[in-house]
């Protein structure tokens, strides 16, 4: 009893102090917390995210910070584990007392952190893909990347444009692939596309010819869509060419990095996928509002790290920028005001597209944010 009373008092004192500190001086840092999967199986997503957050926090501070306040970044690496993501989120909220959290590299880590930020009432901008993060809307949770549902929609639209109605689906046995599969099934029904095959493969499989042979022998299939991340889709692509399947091959936005083309080599030629403007930065028409942003981001990133920019890096950039933009508009870091300001983000042009959020939409991207790209001569080109 006594202890509880004491801790309540401590909490009250802490809160008051926090509130006082929050409104005290203009030079107080803006505390941005981040949980990313910089190591572990999702490191190819989390590592660029971490680099970008650190790079841009530095750059902003050198340019004098935001509204005269420096950005203080605290990054934790959850190694791709949901339980670690949860405990780091707790630490960010309770001991680091951050104003806003960017991160949650994967859907799993994001969903582990979500209930904690809801309870702790801290604005949280996720960098993960699945639609479940923002549907149904959670008061304090936002996200920057496109959803798997949008990817499915974009692919189906392209199919329709080409007059194809029968799709074979190959999805990965992973969180991303499973969610993608569900969304594909739902979207196909809405758009009148018939799914004639529904195959899966393991994330670490080295041979998918058995599944693809079934599709090859299915006379109804008119196109194939692969939903996966990492090396799996590259294996599928190689096996696809090996079996000489001549149907159009689609991939999801999960492979929108040069790594995919490098791994699949010549087999990737002619593959189509929905991707953010970032991967085709220099090919965007000058009239595209995104052009300036993505070209600039690509330049900064590639100069700093001497590796090719990835869309995942872009998600982190967007997350940080949306948060800091909201700090400016909210006139400080009061969490409730900051949350409202993030929700009111309007016409922010980032690497993922133009973001206009609302109380009902905590991602704010439309289908226009996706470009259908095709692999030609080992590079992405805008598909017609």
């Amino acid at each position: 009893m006594r202890i509880r009373l004491l801790s309540t008092m401590a909490a009250v004192v802490g809160l008051t102090l926090g509130a006082v500190a929050g409104s005290a001086t203009a030079a107080d840092p803006i505390k941005v917390g981040a949980i990313v999967s910089a190591t572990g199986p999702a490191s190819f997503l989390g590592d660029p995210e971490k680099k970008v957050l650190e790079l841009y926090a530095d750059r902003i501070n050198q340019a004098g910070g935001v509204a005269g306040r420096p950005v203080q970044l605290t990054v934790y690496d959850d190694g791709g584990a949901a339980d670690k993501a949860a405990s780091f989120t707790k630490r960010l909220i309770e001991s680091d007392k951050v104003d806003v959290i960017v991160g949650g590299t994967t859907t799993a880590t994001t969903m582990a952190a979500a209930p904690l930020v809801e309870r702790g009432e801290v604005p949280f901008i996720s960098l993960a893909g699945a639609v479940v993060i923002v549907e149904p809307v959670k008061k304090w949770v936002f996200k920057t990347p496109h959803t798997d549902r949008m990817a499915a929609e974009k692919v189906m639209d392209d199919l329709k444009k080409r007059g194809l109605t029968k799709l074979a689906l190959v999805s990965e046995d992973s969180g991303f692939g499973k969610s993608g599969r569900e969304q594909t099934l739902a979207v196909a029904k809405e758009r009148g596309i018939e799914l004639v095959a529904d195959e899966t493969y393991g994330a670490k499989d080295t041979d998918v010819t058995a599944q693809l042979t079934k599709i090859r022998n299915n006379p109804a299939a008119q196109a194939v869509l692969v939903f996966g991340l990492g090396q799996g889709p590259a294996v599928v692509t190689k096996n696809y060419r090996q079996l000489v399947i001549n149907l159009p091959l689609y991939q999801s936005h999960g492979v929108a990095s040069k790594e995919y083309i490098r791994l699949a080599g010549g087999a990737a030629e002619g593959v189509r996928l929905p991707a953010a403007g970032l991967v085709v930065a220099s090919q965007l028409p000058d009239s595209d509002p995104q052009k300036k942003v993505v070209v600039e981001f690509t330049k900064v990133y590639e100069e700093a790290f001497s590796v090719e920019v990835s869309t995942f890096a872009g998600h982190a950039y967007d997350g940080l920028m949306i948060a800091l933009d909201a700090v400016k508009r909210a006139g400080g870091t009061d969490k409730a005001k900051l949350r409202d300001a993030i929700e009111q983000t309007k016409g922010y042009v980032g690497t993922g597209g133009t973001v206009t959020m609302s109380a009902k939409d905590h991602m704010g991207l439309t289908l226009d944010a996706f470009h259908m790209v095709e692999v030609k001569q080992g590079d992405w080109t805008l598909a017609k």
Binding site: T39, S43, F44, D173, E199, T200, Y201, G202, K204, D205, T206, D207, V208, T209, A210, Q211, T213, K214, N217, G230, Q231, A234, V235, K238, R241, Q242, L243, V244, E259, R262, L263, G265, G266, A267
Partner: protein, 291 residues
């Protein structure tokens, strides 16, 4: 229908050939030292990673494979000398755990040396598929099966025709007697690790163009190799080869006709069934004498 079956068989035999090499590696070490070496998969990884990274930096492919092979042999000898030999008097379970520890250590070192990303190795002779009765085959599959075949025959000759090979066989039959007739048993153990490492490394190099190489590629390949060795009867060389091919084909057929979701499960169902119903495997009879 037939083309479909043939396609599954070809996929199964390709990956089965690698399982066979890994299984053979398990058997050779088991014979010489009664240790089940769970770092076998890491030898495969070293071969794959070394050949992929070296060719990427301009080393000709055969030389790259040789270097990878040599590197893996050194690592194999080091594992034997510094991890297994030092615990010579420990129980078998302890020794097995030591090799698991060694495999985790090797993966960690590999991650530091080569990084976490996937490496690509070009196919040895192009990627134009070969059509065969309606099934199609990557030229690299022929390389995999061919290399595995040559290595398996070579190992057979080594054990039956050379003095060193015979000494190793003798050690596996009766360690004490072998020691009494003047065979340096410690060196036999070292040689068995080096030999298994070389087999694994070549396997890793030829399979890398199909699977890509990365630091964790050895985990699954090693486990499947172990399944192959157990299925064939631990310590039985030709048995391990047959076991590898059976596991590979069963997997491909399972993925094709049942569901791709159960692909990996097939191998582990096989190992459970073997351990329950015929613990000596398909060919191993000597196992009973040893206990």
């Amino acid at each position: 229908m037939l083309a479909e079956l043939l396609q599954y068989l070809l996929s199964g035999l390709t990956i089965g050939a690698i399982y066979a090499l890994a299984g053979l590696g398990f058997s050779i070490i088991y014979n010489a030292s009664h240790v089940i070496n769970f770092a076998q998969g890491e030898f495969i990884m070293i071969g794959g990673m070394a050949s992929a990274t070296l060719t990427a930096s301009g080393v000709p492919l055969p030389l790259a494979i040789l270097i990878g092979c040599g590197g893996a042999m050194l690592v194999g000898v080091a594992v034997a000398k510094f991890a297994v030999e030092r615990a010579r008097k420990a129980s078998t379970v302890t020794l097995i755990i030591i090799t698991i520890g060694a495999s985790i250590f090797l993966r960690g070192v590999a991650e530091l040396v080569w990084g976490k990303d996937f490496k690509r190795l070009d196919a040895f002779s192009g990627e134009t598929p070969i059509q065969l009765f309606g099934a199609s085959l990557q030229p690299q599959s022929l390389w995999v099966m061919g290399c595995a075949g040559v290595l398996i025959v070579a190992i057979g000759l080594f054990f039956n025709k050379t003095l060193t090979g015979k000494a190793m066989l003798a050690t596996s039959h009766n360690r004490l007697a072998a020691q009494l007739v003047g065979i340096d048993v410690k060196r036999v153990v070292l040689a068995s690790f080096a030999l298994s490492a070389a087999l694994g490394a070549v396997g890793g190099a030829v399979v890398a163009p199909i699977t890509f190489s990365y630091t964790e590629m050895g985990i699954m390949l090693g486990l499947k190799g172990f399944t192959a060795a157990v299925l064939g009867g631990l310590g039985h060389g030709p048995g391990a080869v047959a076991g590898g091919l059976i596991v590979g084909v069963a997997e491909a057929l399972g993925a094709g006709y049942l569901s791709s979701a159960y692909k990996d499960a097939v191998a582990f169902v096989i190992i459970l069934a073997v351990l329950l119903f015929m613990p000596n495997g398909l060919f191993g009879k000597r196992g009973t004498e040893r206990v």
